[in-house]
Structures are given as C-alpha cells and as structure tokens.
C-alpha cells in the first residue's frame, strides 16, 4: 500500500508515539531533577553519569533530540493540513460547546513549550556544550547542583517564566497524553483508568518541575 506513511492516521500515530516517548523522557528528567531537592550529591552523581556516559550521550541524546524535533515539525505539518481542511472559516464558531480549550489549542500550548525549550537549551544545554567541548574544561562531577540552583537563585522573572511554561506543558499533556492512546487505537474498558492516570501525570510532573524551580528560588533568597 503506497502512501501509508503519508496517511493522516499514520502521522497521528507517529505523533502519538513521539509524544509518548517525550513523556517517558519527562518522567526520567523529573526524577533526576527532583533529587536536587532531596540530595544534592545524588543529583550530582546522576547528572554526571548522564553527562558523561557514552551510551546516553551518543545514542540516547540524539534519539531524544530527533524525537523532539520530529514531534514539533509534525505538529506544524498537521496544523497546516488542518488549516487547509477548512479554507473558509466560520463566522461564528462555538467550540466551547463541544470540546475543551486544551484539546483545541494543542498547537498554542505546543508553541509555548517550544519557546521554553529554546530557553532551556540556552540556559543549560548550550552552556553545557561550551563547558565540555569548547572550553574543554576538566571533568568536574560536583558542578551540576550549583549550576542548576544558580539559574533560579535571585531571578524571579526566569523562575516565573519557567513556571508559566510548565503550566502550558501541563495543558498540553492534559489532552495529549490521554489522546495518544486513543490515536493508537486503545479505547476500551481500561480507557477510563488510563484517562485518570494520564491526567494525574499531566498535573503532577509539570507541577513538580515548578515546585523544584520555586524551591531553589526561595531556598536561595
């Protein structure tokens, strides 16, 4: 069958799979970050492992980046098709009558998350690259905690923006996480349970990130 990879369903499934992959990454990321609240040394240990392990750096990291890029590009590709599918728009459109705001505005919440990723890269990833490969600093397994905390300490605007972005991530996940199961064809007696779990996840994880940021901010006033 020609054109399967171009079919709307296949694209949506790809979107769902990449989304789920990012959700897994998010859970992992959160777990590591959270250790910074409980135990700086554990945080340093894990961060060092992640930052220096060959498998993580050479295999997982590119996959992750590919996943992120794919998810975003596909998001835009889909958005363009959707716009084309209704070339003349309604004079009056009462979307609130039949669907939730979050479900109708995935592209918006997605764009905010994308903007956040930009900041995040600027904040952490690029300095990290510079640190490691440009300045070729010597390996220092104890720098991570201080570097992380320093980003929030004394910067209420950055902390606030960081928190706001995670609110949008929450909105994105509130619809997207559960929706990915439906897209992959899962809609049965387990669905209500999945819905509850995904909603809880969508709230707990992003709010956890916000908590970590605020924690470090207030801890270093």
């Amino acid at each position: 069958m020609a054109g399967i990879n171009k079919s709307t369903i296949a694209r949506k499934v790809a979107m769902a799979l990449s989304g789920l992959f990012l959700v897994l990454f998010l859970a992992q990321h959160f777990t590591i970050n959270f250790t910074s609240v409980v135990s700086p040394s554990t945080f340093n240990e894990i961060s060092h492992f992640m930052g220096t392990n060959f498998l993580v750096q050479a295999v997982l990291q590119p996959i992750l980046i590919a996943g992120v890029v794919f998810h975003f590009i596909m998001g835009f590709v889909l958005e363009i098709r959707q716009k084309k599918a209704r070339s003349v728009s309604y004079g009056k459109y009462n979307g609130a009558a039949n669907s939730s705001w979050v479900s109708r505005n995935m592209i918006l919440s997605g764009i905010v998350v994308l903007a956040f990723l930009g900041l995040h890269f600027y904040d952490f990833w690029i300095p990290e690259l510079i640190h490691k490969y440009v300045e070729t600093n010597p390996d220092d397994p104890f720098r991570y905690y201080d570097e992380t905390v320093a980003k929030f300490a004394g910067d209420p605007i950055r902390t606030g923006f960081y928190a706001l972005c995670f609110v949008f991530l929450m909105l994105h996940l509130l619809h997207g996480f559960a929706s990915s199961f439906q897209t992959m064809g899962l809609n049965n007696k387990y669905s209500p349970g999945i819905k509850i779990f995904t909603k809880a996840f969508a709230i707990v994880i992003p709010m956890g990130f916000v908590f970590i940021a605020i924690f470090h901010y207030f801890n270093n006033l």
Partner: protein, 248 residues
C-alpha cells in the same frame, strides 16, 4: 416570537458570499427550525427575493440531508438531533441566530446553505461494502450466529446518517468519525471481516484524498453527532488501519 436571523447567502460555488440579516415574526415554540426557515422563505418569495436554499428532506432526523451550523454548532444547540428536529422552543424571543453552511474544504458550498457532501459518498464507494452477490443464493441468515453485543455495536456504528456534523464540528474538519463508523459497521461482523484490511486502507486513503483534516481527539464530533456515534469507532479504525498496514 420574533427573531433576528443572520444567514449566509452565496450565489454559487464561485461567489464569495456573505451574511444577510433578516427578521422573522410569529414563530411558535412547537415549530421546527426548518419550519422557521420556511416562514422566512415564504416572506422572501412574497417580497420577490430569492429564498434561502438549504438541504432538507425527511424532516424526521434520519435521511441526513439537513445540515446548518447554527450559532456556531452543527445542528444547533440541542443534542442528539438534526436541524429538522431542532425545535424553536430552544430559542427565546428576540434572539439573534447565526446560520451558516457546514464548512470544510471537502464540502464546497453549492448555494447559500447547501453544500456538496459527495466526498462522503466517494469514501463509501472506496470500500463501504461486503463483496457479496446480490442476486440470491446466499446461505441461510441464521447459519452464522453473531454475538448480540457485536451485532449491536455494528448497528450503532451503522446508524450514522452521513450528515457531516462531525466534520463541521471538528476544528480540523476531520471526517474520522464518519469513516470510522462505516469501517466499524463491517469490521464488527463476521461477514465483513474477510475484506477488513483492504477496506480500511482504501477508505482511509480516500478520506485523505478528499482533503479532510486529522483527528486530534477533541471529541467535538461525538458530542455534536445527531446519532451519538462513539469515538470508540475512531480507535477501532486506527487499530484496523495499523494492523492492516503492518500486514501489508
């Protein structure tokens, strides 16, 4: 009651079209929405103005002819009904009602509120059937017992009237609910299983070709569907589609 109507008028497919305002009086709560439009049209004819064209036929909610986006919702504010079953008691004296055609690139406007939904037909031509000869000599109807629950699910999927409200409600103008209802009806029955793979691939392919949008699972279609076709059908179609794709 007295109502202010804001109605989409468009001469033909090429015309750009626009809203026109009309007032109607003497509307009774027991009248259907289309009967209200009949009143408007009779007034217009009496004034020598072209009446508003709209699709309608059975006026009992089963043929799927009537459409109309009413105050931003397909088939208006009530649930589980078509426009012909929408009664004016849902409105109040003095209300303004915005009436537009269902909008989707795959549903071009023919005139005023009349749209061309032949895209739906083409999706059905692509695979909406079981290849069995119609001239008799089939086996006895009771030779294959079918689990009641499955037969009922097939029936519920088959109650789709093809009105296009799902497309109209969807922010992406997606036809997934319609197509999935058609796919499901057959996929759920042993008679339809045999061609299930080919059917789903063909029908989805045609759906995409018609230019409908993707499904983002907003669920608007299910809520606006006059027959309450369930989103489960979309999940089922996706499943069928994936397994058909994998099987090649």
């Amino acid at each position: 009651m007295k109502l202010k109507l804001k109605v989409w008028r468009q001469e033909d497919a090429q015309d750009k079209g626009g809203f026109q305002n009309y007032d109607v009086e003497g509307i009774d709560g027991d009248m259907s929405f289309l009967e209200m439009l009949d009143v408007l049209n009779n007034n217009l004819v009496n004034e020598g103005v072209d009446p508003v064209e709209f699709d309608h036929d059975c006026r009992e909610g089963i043929c799927g002819s009537c459409s109309l986006q009413i105050n931003g919702e397909p088939h208006g504010p009530d649930r589980r009904i078509t426009t012909c079953q929408l009664h004016m008691r849902k409105f109040k004296d003095g209300d303004e009602i915005v009436i537009e055609p269902f909008r989707a690139t795959a549903f071009p406007v023919i005139k005023d509120l009349v749209i061309d939904r032949s895209a739906f037909d083409r999706i059905q031509h692509a695979g909406g059937y079981i290849s069995v000869n119609t001239s008799g000599n089939t086996q006895d109807a009771n030779s294959i017992p079918i689990e009641k629950e499955k037969a009922d699910d097939a029936f519920y999927a088959a109650t789709c009237i093809g009105c296009g409200a799902c497309v109209a409600a969807c922010k992406n103008a997606s036809a997934m609910l319609f197509t999935s209802a058609k796919v499901s009806q057959f996929a759920l029955l042993p008679q339809g299983e045999i061609e299930a793979h080919e059917r789903v691939l063909e029908m989805v392919h045609q759906m995409d070709k018609e230019g409908f949008g993707h499904c983002t699972n907003t669920g608007a279609c299910e809520i606006e569907c006059p027959k309450g076709i369930s989103l489960e059908n979309i999940a089922r179609m996706n499943r069928e589609y994936l397994s058909a794709s994998v099987a090649g």
